[in-house]
Symmetry: C2
């Protein structure tokens, strides 16, 4: 129960702040961060989908939006014509660097301020043990 409640409350707050300041969804931000830390700042759409826990169709539509905003671009793959890469553009890079700052501050305020460093580790450990929560975490947020 607490888990669900906490999530609903936190994501609503974080999402609305992110949206108000940067015009980004939490999912948008999530995708941009993944790309930011990816090698060559590019990823296959399918891997992107898995790492942010969306379906393939979800990623298609989300990237449509980010492409329209010029934050990411498509790129074909030479060795396999089925795959399309999503690449972070310069604008996208700037965007995520801006947004990351305020987003981390928001997280710190809503989340981090409640816990001691030790408790944070504990929480991370406990949450990390949950099934299916292991998709990709080459990221510091």
């Amino acid at each position: 129960m607490r888990f669900l409640r906490a999530h609903a409350a936190l994501t609503r707050e974080l999402s609305s702040r992110l949206e108000a300041v940067h015009e980004l969804t939490l999912s948008d931000f999530d995708v941009l961060v993944q790309l930011y830390y990816a090698e060559g700042q590019r990823m296959r759409r399918i891997d992107l989908a898995r790492s942010v826990l969306l379906t393939a169709s979800g990623i298609t539509r989300l990237l449509d939006g980010l492409e329209a905003g010029g934050l990411v671009a498509k790129e074909r793959c030479d060795s396999d014509a089925r795959v399309t890469y999503a690449v972070l553009t310069k604008a996208g890079e700037r965007k995520i660097e801006e947004a990351r700052e305020s987003h981390l501050a928001d997280i710190e305020e809503l989340f981090g301020s409640q816990f001691s460093p030790q408790e944070r580790d504990q929480l991370a450990d406990l949450l990390g043990r949950l099934p299916l929560a292991h998709t990709a975490e080459p990221c510091s947020a």
Copy 2:
């Protein structure tokens, strides 16, 4: 990050199981449980909304569905014509008692099995400290 991932994965799994077996959304279930434990098995719609962290409009539409299914009923309030109560019907009571059983088993499997009793308390404590997570918890799930 882990928090968001864990939530996405868990709710998808729990929700699809609940839907497959009982044709209930996680939110539906949540509302039914709230009513089940409420005094007289009835609540004002607005309080229901706050306790499950939905907006008023969300509750209206969700209850439309549950009413259509005969699980809850509307009831006018004599002392204040603005408010409408949502009351659990007999069918709703049966439904929630059935669903609760399998849902708790699912939770146990996905969630509880990862932790010792002590760790559960720890996790509950940590999550409970998050802001806005304090809405209503007269419930054992």
